[in-house]
C-alpha cells in the first residue's frame, strides 16, 4: 500500500506546483522542499555543528549553503536547515546521534513549514502590503533570510535571487497566506 504525502495545498509532496499567477507575480507550492529545525542549549552550538560537518550561520542575514542544504539563522541558538524531503529524516538522525545528550536537537520540520515561492517583478514590494519585510530601506539582500510578520503570519523569508523569494509559512496558515497574497497582488486600482 502506498501512502500519499500531501502538501498544505493538497498537492503531492515532493515536487513544485503552480498555485497562482497574479499581477506581475507567480506563486508556487514548493512541496519539493523540506526542513529540519535545530535548537541548541548553548551558545557554541554553531561550532559544535561544524564539528560534524554542518555549517550554519552565526548571525542574522546571510544563508549558508552546503551539500544541498541551506541553513537559515533564526536565533543565536536555533536554525532551520532547508533540505530535500528525502534527506530530512537522515539529517535529523545524523544530528541527534551526534548529540545524544540533546544539547543540540534536530526535529523534523518539513511539515511544519510550507514553502511558497513568489517570483516576478518585485516580491518584496508585494509582501510589503502585509508587513515591513525588513526595517532596512533596501529590504532583504539576495542570499539572506529572516523571520518576520507578513499579513499577521510568521514567515521565514529567503531572498534567493532578485525577483525570487521563498516564504516558509507555518502549515496551518499557508492557505490563508496564499489567499492573502492573491488579494494583495490583485491588479491594483487604477487610482494607485
Amino acid at each position: 500500500m502506498s501512502i500519499l504525502a500531501k502538501s498544505a495545498f493538497g498537492n503531492l509532496h515532493g515536487s513544485s506546483h503552480a498555485l497562482a499567477s497574479v499581477h506581475r507575480h507567480d506563486i508556487h507550492d514548493r512541496a519539493d522542499l523540506a526542513a529540519v529545525l535545530v535548537v541548541a542549549t548553548d551558545d557554541d552550538a554553531a561550532a559544535e555543528l561544524a564539528s560534524i560537518g554542518l555549517t550554519v550561520p552565526t548571525g542574522a542575514g546571510p544563508m549558508v549553503a552546503q551539500d544541498g542544504l541551506q541553513a537559515i539563522w533564526l536565533s543565536p541558538r536555533s536554525w532551520v536547515i532547508q533540505c530535500a524531503p528525502e534527506a530530512e529524516m537522515a539529517l535529523v538522525a545524523r544530528i541527534n546521534a551526534a548529540f545524544d545528550d540533546r544539547r543540540i536537537t534536530a526535529s523534523l520540520f518539513g511539515d511544519h513549514l510550507a514553502w511558497i515561492e513568489i517570483s516576478g517583478a518585485d516580491p518584496q514590494a508585494l509582501l510589503r502590503r502585509g508587513g515591513f519585510v525588513s526595517l532596512d530601506a533596501g529590504g532583504i539582500a539576495p542570499g539572506s533570510a529572516k523571520r518576520t510578520l507578513v499579513a499577521e503570519v510568521n514567515v521565514i523569508l529567503c531572498h534567493i535571487e532578485p525577483g525570487r523569494l521563498l516564504a516558509g509559512v507555518e502549515r496551518s496558515r499557508a492557505r490563508y497566506f496564499v489567499d492573502w497574497l492573491k488579494q494583495a497582488a490583485k491588479e491594483p486600482s487604477p487610482a494607485f
Binding site: M1, I3, L4, A5, K6, S7, A8, G10, H13, L37, V39, A40, T41, D42, R77, S78, M89, D101, R102, R103, I104, T105, S107, L108, F109, G110, D111, H112, L113, R128, R129, G130, G131, F132, V133, S134, L135, D136, A137, A151, E152, V153, E170, R171, S172, R173, R175, Y176, F177, D179, W180, Q183, A184, P188, S189, P190, A191, F192
Partner: protein, 977 residues
Amino acid sequence: MSLTGSKRRASGGHIDRSRPISFTWNGKKMQGFEGDSLASALIANGVGIVGRSFKYHRPRGFMALGAEDPNAMVSVRDAHGYTPSIRAGQMPLAEGMEVRSVTGWPSASFDIGALAGLGKPFFGAGFYYKTMMWPNWSWFEPIVRRATGFGRPDGSKESRAAQHQYQAVDVLVVGAGPAGLAAAQGLIGSGLSVLVAEQEQRPGGSLLWEEAEIDGKPGIAWAQDIAKEIKATPGMQILTSTLVAAAYDTNIFTLVQSVIDARGIAAERHITLHAKQVILASGAVERPLLFADNDRPGVMLAGAVRRLIRDYGVAPCKQLVVKTSNDSGWLTAFAAQDAGIKVVAILDTRPRAEAVHLAQAEALGIPVVFEAAITAMKAGRQLRGLTVSTPSGVRKFACDGLAVAGGWTPLIHLACHRGAKPVWNDALQMFTVPELPQGWQASGGVTGCTSLTEALGQSLQAAAKSSQRQAKATPLVKAPAFGGVSLIRRPSGVPANKVWIDHQNDVKLSDVEIAVRENYVSVEHLKRYTTLGMGTDQGRTSNVNGLAMLAHLTGREISEVGITTFRPMVSAIRMGTIAGGHEGDLIAPRRYLPADAVHRRLGADFEDFGWQRPDWYHRPDASDRDTAVALEMAAVRSDVGIFDGSSLGKVEVTGPDAAAFLARFYVSDMATLKPGSVRYSVMLNEEGVIYDDGVVACLGPNHYLAGPTSGHAEAVAAHFERWRQTEWPSSRVAVGNVTSNWCSIAVAGPRARHILAVLNPDFDISPAAFKHMQVREGSWQGIPLRVARVSFTGELQFEISVPSRYAEALYETLLKGDAAGAPRAIGMEAWLRLRLEKGYIHLGSDTNGRTGPTEVGMAALVAKRQDDFIGKRSLTLPFALSDEREQLVGLVAVSGKIEAGARVLAPGCTAPPCKTEGYVTSGCDSPTLGHPIGLALIERGFARQGEEVTLYSNGRTSRARITSPVFYDPENERLRQ
C-alpha cells in the same frame, strides 16, 4: 468666461479657471474650479453658514481652511463613496460631488434647534451631569443624541479602493512646506532614503499664498523646483495628499495617502512607516482671538483670508476689519486691499506695530487702532458691523468680514504621540517641544519660528545632522516678518458668556469660569467637564485660549497649567482605509487542519476554534446537529470514533536540564517523568492562575514533548522561551515548537485498540505493554509514528501522530476501520460533551482569570510538591486560600436545562436581581446519562455537594443539584481496558 458665485475674484489664485467643476450644496447646484478645496468653492459661491454648533446650534461659518477649522463639518458623496463627516477644507473639490451640511434642521441656515440658545443661561458646563440624572439618563438620551453629533453613516458600500503598505526609510520629513522642502533639499545627494509627506495636494505650504522670494525666485516656483528635484532623486519621494496621522514607539508612523482623481478620492493607501530619523516640519496653525460674539459667521482667521485671496482667488467679503495681536493681521489687510476688498480698519491689541507695516497701512489709507477691544458684534446669520473700545473711546465699524490673528499654535502632535513634553514659551506665546524624541529634529513653524529665513536655516541644519554632512548655505529670502505676539488676555468689558473659546463644542469663557468655581482646575478635568478641545478639530484653535483663561482665573501661569495629552490620530481617517483588504475570509489569519480536505469530503460542519475544525458531520443518519452529536458520542461510548486533534500543541523541550525546566512550569513534578510515560497537569502564571493544561510526554532522556492546548502552542512555547532567557539563562534547555509538523488523530472507544492495530505499528500495543498514560514511538510503513495512550473522553483512547503530509492518508486509513466495522468521525461538539461527562476541564470554559489548581480539584497535587514552580507562592496568599473562592463542581438537573453561562443564584433567591454565587461553565444534555449535566464554578462548591441551587439564564430559571464533577466512570475502569 463667466465666474461662478459672488465671491470669486476675476483673477488670482492657483485654480484652473479653464476647468470648471460642478457640485451641489444641500441640493443646490454650484460651480468651482480645479484646484479648489470644497471650502474655497463654497465660500466662492457665497455660502456663509456651513453648519451649526454642537450645543446651542449657533450658526457657524468658515473659520479656517484645514483640519483646524472647528466649524465646517459637512458630508460628502463623491463618485467613489460617502464620507459622513469631514471638514470642507480637507476635501478637494471634484466633479459631481454632493455636499450637505451635517447639522441643523430643517437646514443649517434655518435651524429649529437654535431654540436651544434660549436655554443658554441653564446649559453651562456640566449641566448634563447635574440635570439629566433624574429620573433617568435614558429618558434624555434619545433627544440628546438626535440633537447632537456631526453626520450620519448611510450604510452604503464605497467603491473607494484601500490598500495597506509597509515601508522603511532612513528619514521621514513631515510636511512639504518651506521648512520641509528645505530639509529634503538638504538631504539630496546624501544617499539616504527619504520620504516627504504633505497633507495638501500640492507641496509648498504657506508659499502657496504668502509673499516670499527665495534665491531670487517667487516662493512657489522655488517650492516647485525643489519638489521636482526630490522626485528626480533616486531613493527620495514626495507624497502629497498624505497625512502623517500618528507616531508610535520605535518611530513607526501611520500615514494615509489619498489618491485623488477628477471625481473625488478614488483610493486611499494606509502606510505603516518606519523611519530611522524624522524631521518634523508640520508647521503651525493660527489662533483666534477672544472677544464678544467672536463665533459669528464672517469671522475668519487672518491667514485663511490671505490663502483664500491668493491661493484660491476668492474674496470672502466686501468690507473687512482686521483684528490682530501680531503682524499676520497686517499682512492680511494688505492682501485684502490689494484684492479689492475694502479694509475698514486694522485693530491691533498691541500698543504699536512694525513701522514698515504702519507706513504701508497709511499709504493704503487703512485706519489703524491700537489697544483695541471688540465689545459687541452686529450680526445675526451674517456679520454686519462691530463695536470697538479704544483708548480714545468707543467706535463702530460696518463690515461683512472680520479677520482675526491671535498668534500661532505649532502642530506638535506627532512628537507628543511619542511622549515629547510640550513646554510653554512665554515669549512666543505658544507650546513647543524643546526636547524631541530620539532621532527627531524639527524646523519651521512647529518650533515656534515665524521667520522664513530662520526656518530654512533650521531645516538645512537638520538635514546636515541627519546626513552627517556639512549644512548647505541658507538661501537668500525676502519675506515679510510676523513680529511679536501680545499676551493672551481675558477680554475686558464683555460678559463671559458672550466669549466663545471652543466654537465646535460651544465652550464659552463663562464655562471655564464655572469649571474653576467648581474646582475643576486641572487641565485634564477642565477638558472633560467643559468638553473644551474635545471636538473633531481636537482643539487646535481653542486649547491654548482655554488654558490661558484657566491660568488667568486660577492666578497661575500657562506654563503651570500645562496642556492636555495629544493622542493618535491627528485627524480623522476613514474606517474603510484602516480595514483595507481585511474583509471576508481575510479578516484574520485562518488555520486549517492538515486533513481539512477529508473533513470537507465527509460533510463536516466547521466552526472556528482558532482553527477551522469540524463541529459535527452530516451523514445520512444525522442531518441535524443534535442527532449527529448524539450518534457521534454513542459511537465513542459503545464502539469507536476518530477525532482530528492535530491542532493540539506540540512543543519539544530538550537538553540536559529539560526535566528540571519543565518541572518549574507544571503543578505536577515533570522531573520524575520516565521515558515512555505521559503526565497530565496544569501550568500556572505567577498569580497562581491556571495558564494552560495538557500532557507532557517523555520521549527519551532529555527529550520531552509538551502538549499545550490548541491555539495556545505558540504562546506556551514563547512562555517557555521567555522564562528560559530571562530567569534561567544558564539552564541547558532548548525549546522547539513543532505543532504543525505532526497531525494527531485520536481513536477513542472500546474498540480503539483494534483500529490502532490496522496501522500495524512496529511496537507492542497490548494492554499490558502499552498502558494508559504512556507513549510509544515507531513507524507506520516507514513513516515516523508517535502514539500516546491518553484520554479526553473517558474511554480507551490513542492519539496517533505522523508528519502532517500523511494526515489525509492516516485519517482515511483509520476511517476504513477493520473487519468489525468502521469508526465514526467525531466533531468538536461530541468530543467536548464526552469530556464533560467524564468531568475533564476544558481550559477557558471551565476556568477563568481567577481559577487556580485548588479550585479544579488539584489541591492534593499542589500540597505534594515540595519544590518550587511558577505560581506556587501565590497559592499561599490569603486570597488563594479563601473559603469563598469559586470551586469547580458538577451539576445534575433537577428541573429544566443546564446552560453554559447560567448564573447560580444565592440560596433563597428565585430570580434576579439578587446575589449570584457562580456560573455554569459547561452544560449539555448527556445522551449517555439521559439527563442534563453541567460543570460550574460556585463559591464554596466543594462543601456544598448535594445542595440544590437555582440557575438563571436568558430569562429562565431551572434547578440543579451540586455533585462531583465526574459523571461517567468515576473509577476509571474504562481507561484501564
